[in-house]
Symmetry: D3
Subunit: 136 residues, 6 copies
């Protein structure tokens, strides 16, 4: 971490690399907005700790971090967050096709139910962003 | 899938790309061996379905598939399989450092306990393969 | 597996044993339809691998497989799939009463929350199929 | 357990300590009502076993039991039951602030997704009961 | 429940139907013994509530209840209890082959890792009871 | 957070409130020591983020935070961390009896398996610290 930046600034900058599109940005903004009335510190932890400290480490690139994030969220079945991170994953360099392949790859590890539910979430996000995937 | 190969042959070939080292191979062999007396069909499903159909799709490379696999196994906390797939991940092109970073990246999504247990597993596999990671 | 049938044909036939009613069929069709635009291979895996290879094994009957399937889905809390498989379970020979008893049996193993949510799903499916259960 | 009371009576009395407000009562009543047509015994188990035997033990007070209950439900991600038990927790002596702090405390153990979804549930319950939390 | 029996007596009788062999009995006894020093009420709840109220309901037979129990424990990955209930399942009328088939049936729903770990547990229990399974 | 302390210092101080006994301290030290060779930043996140930011918030006391922590770990089934936090819970003001009651309270929410495994862990920790619990 540069000595001239606080981790909050580092976090905001890193976050913008994942949300620099209308769709990802607006999804993330809705989360922060909703936290304001009940637990604003959680919003700060997301920026300062998750993006400022974890995501900002140099040993793995943004695209790979998005792949790891999508994989854990499919496995947990936490769909609102999966929608957000399919969005941030597209912004961070994953193609729609790669995201679909990653979800499909999880069938032998999580079984079909989690995968089917995740593909539904992906369809909705892709429709919002006007993304079509090639199917084979 | 080539028309000249059955999915079993495709699966064996794909599997070898992930297990072409003494350590990964011997870990995988132990699983197949153990299945023989009780449920040999499960061993065939792993080769024919998991490796022959899922892993063999072209839309995502071996290294990325290893990253997705490690992420789901850390999240599930299934440690024997995590040990195997840290092994196959190393063979498929992930560095020890990238594996550690991927596990660390999961802290904001799974919390510390799963991550701490996964890092213990990684340490054991790295020691067996004589891999050292740079820490920062 | 008969040498005169491919596993796809075996899968379709087995699948029809579980979906041979308007309600189960239409639920299953909706899943396949939805997969077509995004991941048609997953639909094929369900027919060819899940029904053609796993469900088609002879060591356990359709009714018992439905019981196992409902039990894992209640435990995972994946409700859209639970609705489908309460439907296929009814078609495969489980009575509404047996399904309710199986869900209730899970209280000591999963706790009340998963069971309460599963009973809500069962109520909806039973209402759609015009099934009433005797309560004691 | 007093020799003059059955565990059903003990359970009803203990339950009333957690649901003695319009909001908690009506949420609990909806569950019992819904169980009547499909599995009334589960409703009796909740009163007689959960409240009559488990909750009625003397080694831990009502407020602490509510804290334990909320923590497991956030971890499991079972949102309908979390809504009920944020309600019963408020009735049993937890403040809105303490509930928010308990949910926030889970970030290092469950990660952010479960916590964000739980805070949404808390917001809805607090709004229904006219509770405001101080944020810092 | 007969009016001449308490639920404790009903529970003990039902429990004996599942543990009436040296191996299942001794596994269950070890659990009760271990609970005595720390939480004897939990041992009573298992007999009185789990066996006396849940298992004793008439709508589903012992063998089917064992199938449901094994399915949830494979899904949860709680291996000490899985070992116990593979044991009780054998006593309650499931064959070794049926247990293996039920575990294998879970591959499309839980993925391979949980299934592989459960098959290891089954192997150990079968060896202790001198059971061999036919593999195909 | 006092302006005269960094969050690392705040974290160390807070951590010491939970580990100020030989047993809890040595368990925590083993974790930090083990992380040094593979992922020292995770050890820093535990001190700086988990203890320095989350645990240090004023809205919930140390004892209550220990109760929440134990509840989530029983639910997740992550036993090495459960052993640590039964230890820190004892140091933070929970009695052995309260810890046992909290674990028992989870039966209606997680089912018996997680609870039985957690009680085994508690027995081991209590034996190490020479703690006896009154059973009723």
């Amino acid at each position: 971490m540069s000595t001239h930046e606080t981790r909050h600034e580092v976090g905001l900058k890193k976050l913008s690399e994942f949300t620099d599109t209308n769709s990802a940005q607006s999804t993330h903004d809705k989360i922060s907005e909703s936290l304001k009335d009940i637990a604003p510190a959680v919003g700060e932890w997301i920026t300062d700790f998750a993006y400022g400290e974890v995501y900002s480490r140099t040993g793995l690139g943004n695209r790979d971090r998005a792949l790891v994030t999508i994989s854990t969220l499919v496995t947990q079945g936490t769909e609102p967050q999966l929608a957000l991170h399919i969005n941030t994953g597209l912004t961070a360099g994953l193609s729609g096709n790669e995201i679909v392949e990653a979800i499909m790859h999880l069938v032998p590890y999580t079984g079909f139910p989690r995968v089917l539910n995740a593909l539904e979430v992906a369809k909705t996000v892709f429709a919002e962003r006007g993304i079509t995937v090639e199917t084979e």
